[in-house]
Symmetry: C2
């Protein structure tokens, strides 16, 4: 068995795991995201002596995932205290001399879903998480999207719902997708936690309107073979049928493909890896790095 290490580096906690090439997680531990010194000490201790043959890191961003770049492996311009311009991969390399894969948490999740999850066997898919923020990653032609850097799909602009007067939470764009549709905006707009809203509350129709607009852009720009929606907000299962029907309404028959017409229930789905999507994503980054 090949022993793979995985780190899901999040803004509130780092989840570390040991797994294998079948996507099985055999051991895990979680550490709060404190200062890099504290957190990384915990992370490094966790992996020591485990004999990992490769390590995958799916991280909060923005990061530099472009190999050959001067700041490859860094968390870059995050506003999170202490973590701006932090050389995460460099630190790990000081302790573990193994191949390391490094990408955004959502790019990792997209890769993991394409290997073991809801998009198994496909060479394109999109993974979007709607939680305290909104992020998405995608695989195109079997490769995770990179270019100037990594995608930042949560910040695309959407049209405001005619009944929405909430100004949006995004410090950069105000009412971009994340500003209008992430968990905190739901809470601020309706003055209660999202999970306290009844399943037939108008909040969900509005939420679906925003998410469907985003999916419309993703479909028209990327044409992914599968769309996987995860994160805390998507635990509200009533959102799935709403998002699917809104997307069909918005596309209005323009893209003629069964995935967008008769088979849309199998096109827009929950993560096949469930709540393991993030950690398995990091595992997938390790596996991919090893196979290259």
């Amino acid at each position: 068995m090949t022993v793979l290490g995985a780190i899901e580096a999040g803004g509130t906690k780092f989840v570390c795991g040991i797994g294998n090439e079948q996507g099985e997680v055999l051991e895990r531990a979680s550490f709060p995201t404190a200062t890099p010194a504290e957190t990384m000490e915990n992370v490094i201790s966790f992996f020591e002596g485990k004999g990992i043959e490769a390590l995958g890191v799916g991280s909060f961003g923005p990061i530099d995932p472009i190999e050959g770049s001067d700041t490859y492996g860094y968390i870059t311009t995050t506003p999170k205290p202490h973590w701006g311009n932090y050389n995460l991969i460099g630190k790990l390399k000081e302790h573990f001399d193994v191949p390391m894969g490094f990408d955004t948490d959502v790019n990792g999740a997209a890769l993991g879903e394409s290997i073991w999850g809801a998009a198994k066997g496909l060479d394109s898919c999109l993974y979007i998480t709607i939680g305290t923020g909104i992020g998405a990653g995608a695989l195109v032609g079997g490769k995770l999207i990179h270019g100037l850097s990594h995608p930042e799909m949560g910040h695309i602009l959407v049209r405001r719902h005619p009944e929405d007067t909430y100004e949006g939470t995004c410090p950069y764009h105000g009412d971009c997708l994340e500003g209008l549709a992430a968990g905190p905006s739901l809470e601020k707009r309706w003055k209660v936690k999202g999970h306290e809203l009844s399943v037939d509350h108008p909040a969900w129709e509005m939420e679906a309107y925003y998410l469907a607009q985003a999916l419309m852009s993703y479909v028209l720009i990327l044409s992914p073979q599968k769309i996987i929606m995860g994160g805390g907000v998507m635990k509200q299962e009533q959102l799935f049928p709403l998002v699917r029907s809104k997307l069909q309404e918005l596309l209005n028959g323009y893209v003629q493909h069964p995935s967008l017409t008769t088979d849309i229930d199998q096109y827009i789905v929950s993560p096949g890896l469930g709540d393991n999507a993030g950690l398995c994503g990091a595992l997938a980054l390790a596996k991919e790095k090893l196979s290259r």
Copy 2:
């Protein structure tokens, strides 16, 4: 010298060319897009006896560019009379037993620009044409974007300009990007041809607002290393600085990369292949097919 054939299959004309692997077009001819029988007779005659070793076709869409699909090589659901469900590559294969590359005109143009043009040497770029319609193609990790099918980026939704009361021309979406910003909508909104509007007419600020919104989505979703803007409307050179500054305004510093800050004049550019972008794109599809 390797002799390559190229077809830029457009809705009003088919441009055919003979070229080489350096992207040079040595001979060309143009035939009106009439019925498939008429047009293809001209096209086939043009290539007969020329000794082409591969053929590239960049076509108007929608098409099926997915190899292995039952309708690979077809123009599919186009409303254009006679061309719906037309097996374009099948017809060409009856006459020429050579490798054939087949993609959208704009995907072809993106590939051509990445080999010989403004995105030379880059493994990601986006090519958008703004003319009688709006279409875009893109290269990600060295590959043209395919998934369910090909992108249809011209139909993404944008926010309406506060002073725009025009309802939009798109038969599917009304006021999507193409509906609000392609040549025909300019003409209908302002009651004159686009090129008759003075360079300081408010039309251009409005046009730039729509195009910059589209570019914002493309940047956040694809992170391309270069954006190339072509087509009839982009002959209005005053649009370039307007689009660049609107994009910076909309992104509001969110993506920290020199290409979007100090170097934006070299990031959003005209086609390096000029008016040959389409035909060279088809040539690039031939070259790529031969090298695979």
